[in-house]
């Protein structure tokens, strides 16, 4: 019996490590390329270890035409998306979490349904509208569409954040003389803050990563993914790899920050 347990354990670790390598190895390899000299991409064969560290490739990408402006646009769009989604989504999530009212289930179903609409069906008509009203090719245009995409998730996430805070606490504060508003501001909001911050960062990543709408809705005010995809076929390989790494790195850092909330966030949004 003891022998079998040992074999089971060894198999478990082998499987777990193999899957971990499957996840991590490609990230290592793109990082390796991004920090190799430019011409290393064309060398055959090429080492798998970081023997020739160089900033040349990354420097080339960052100083290429449009990269810095596109990075700035990406950050602006993601921040706008984050603020809009939270400002609209947090009250809605709070309402779904705290109140029983007629039409509550219909509202929840409606919000879930909106996720079925593909990006293409939103961005193409909105591009036509935005051209007409002069909003086309601005960070606001992209941020509005990104908010439409992120809002259903943010509502469901914030609803689950507020559900997890016992209502009794607010009620206790009110019996001690707080108004409903100040009970919310002094009790529920501080307790909800970490969860709301995680939801906000999650929204940032969604917007930072989105490419279809951004490429459709911009011409000169490109976001980073929109820039990379539109110049892809004319750009050298080392530009593409540096771009890939440059887009992955900030998202990975954010994921690391919100890792504690990750499973609650995704577990709830996909239910």
């Amino acid at each position: 019996m003891k022998g079998r347990a040992w074999i089971g354990s060894a198999l478990w670790y082998m499987g777990a490590i193999a899957l971990a390598l499957w996840v991590l190895a490609p990230i290592y390899l793109i990082g390796l390329l991004a920090f190799s000299p430019r011409m290393a991409v064309y060398r055959w064969p090429r080492p798998l270890l970081p023997l020739e560290f160089s900033l040349e490739t990354m420097r080339f990408f960052v100083s290429a035409t449009g990269t810095l402006a596109a990075t700035r646009n990406s950050v602006v769009v993601a921040l706008l998306t984050m603020m809009l989604s939270l400002a609209l989504g947090a009250p809605a999530g709070y309402a779904l979490a705290r109140f029983l009212f007629p039409g509550r289930e219909a509202m929840r179903m409606g919000i879930l349904m909106t996720r079925m609409f593909p990006m293409a069906i939103l961005s193409i008509p909105l591009a036509v509208t935005f051209i007409r009203i002069g909003l086309y090719d601005t960070p606001w245009a992209v941020a509005l569409v990104h908010t439409a995409m992120a809002l259903p998730f943010v509502i469901l996430i914030t609803a689950s954040v507020f559900v997890s805070i016992p209502r009794d606490l607010e009620e206790a504060a009110m019996t001690l003389g707080c108004s409903p508003l100040s009970a919310f501001l002094r009790i529920s909001l501080p307790l909800a803050l970490p969860g709301l911050a995680a939801a906000a960062l999650f929204t940032f990543v969604i917007s930072w990563n989105e490419v279809f709408a951004a490429a459709i809705l911009t011409l000169r005010q490109r976001t980073l993914p929109a820039l990379v995809i539109t110049v892809l076929n004319e750009s050298p390989l080392y530009f593409r790899f540096a771009g890939g790494f440059f887009m992955v790195a900030p998202a990975l850092v954010i994921l690391l920050i919100i890792r504690r909330f990750l499973f609650n966030l995704w577990g709830i949004t996909s239910r």
């Binding site: 670790y13 064969p45 939103l122 995809i229 990975l252």
Partner: protein
């Protein structure tokens, strides 16, 4: 208090209203507009012209076929891998929690970035060829992504998408597994079930709601696959979303692009309905 008090439902409604208005303005109305666009000529008169142009385009059927083929190849693989990862990460061995975070890392990676990451591996002088040579299996690099062999590009897209999006499925399954693994798993153990029996008779039936949610969300996103295909295949491998993009940006024709987006929406609706029906939770099972 007394007569001046507003009805109780007013506050939640007021809190929900801005979000509901926004979703109407930026999801419901554009969807109706897409319907209009797809049934109009550029001149503005009603017509089936955009659909006719879409269907008669030589890239339409390949795009439809590739999109469905990608889904049929990617999603079963993702399901098996995600379930394996979730079971590993939910076991009580040391380090399980660490592996859970590791497997979730691709959540942060965009479709475009994933395409570029795997381009670094599958390109002619990429790391796959470097490794194959290191093993002594080849002398000259093999061309995996060639204009003449779309199948190679298709398989590369499958690998890249399995790598990137399995984490989404896994995270959804982990949420469902947490509720099952305790008592039910131990009960099956007491009755002497082996691992496969436990998965077949305990985990999979009880996991059905989570499986349903994971499959729906993955399939909806998979119908929109776009950037990874562009990154790995240039324009060689058309899919529905890349055709919508090309018709809008390249041909400057929002009408045909809208027709494509309606096809994506229709397929998404059919797939969602299919999963809801096939994996439905029967009323007599609700009490568990």
């Amino acid at each position: 208090m007394g007569k001046g008090k507003a009805p109780e439902w007013l506050l939640p409604l007021a809190l929900l209203m801005p979000a509901a208005l926004f979703l109407t303005l930026f999801i419901a109305i554009p969807s109706v507009q897409a319907l209009w666009l797809a049934f109009q000529t550029p001149g503005g008169s009603w017509s089936l012209e955009p659909f006719r142009r879409m269907v008669t385009d030589t890239r339409f059927l390949p795009a439809l076929r590739n999109t469905i083929l990608l889904i049929a190849l990617i999603i079963p693989i993702q399901l098996v891998m995600a379930l394996t990862m979730a079971l590993i990460a939910q076991s009580r061995r040391r380090g399980a929690g660490f592996f859970l975070y590791l497997y979730a890392i691709p959540l942060a990676i965009s479709e475009l970035a994933a395409g570029l990451v795997w381009l670094a591996i599958f390109t002619e002088r990429g790391y796959l060829n470097v490794i194959l040579r290191g093993l002594g299996w080849i002398e000259r690099p093999i061309v995996f992504l060639s204009y003449e062999r779309p199948l190679g590009i298709l398989l590369a897209v499958v690998v890249a998408e399995v790598w990137r999006a399995t984490a989404i499925v896994m995270v959804t399954l982990v949420a469902g597994l947490q509720m099952i693994l305790g008592e039910y798993w131990e009960a099956a153990e007491v009755f002497g079930a082996n691992l496969l029996q436990k998965i077949r008779y305990v985990v999979l039936p009880l996991l059905r709601p989570s499986l349903q949610a994971a499959l729906i969300i993955r399939t909806l996103f998979a119908f929109q696959t776009f950037a990874v295909v562009v990154a790995l295949g240039g324009g060689v491998l058309p899919v529905l979303a890349s055709e919508a993009y090309t018709w809008y940006v390249g041909a400057n024709n929002p009408h045909v692009a809208a027709a494509y987006s309606l096809v994506i929406l229709a397929l998404s609706a059919v797939a969602t309905g299919f999963y809801l029906y096939v994996l439905r939770v029967r009323p007599e099972e609700m009490g568990r």
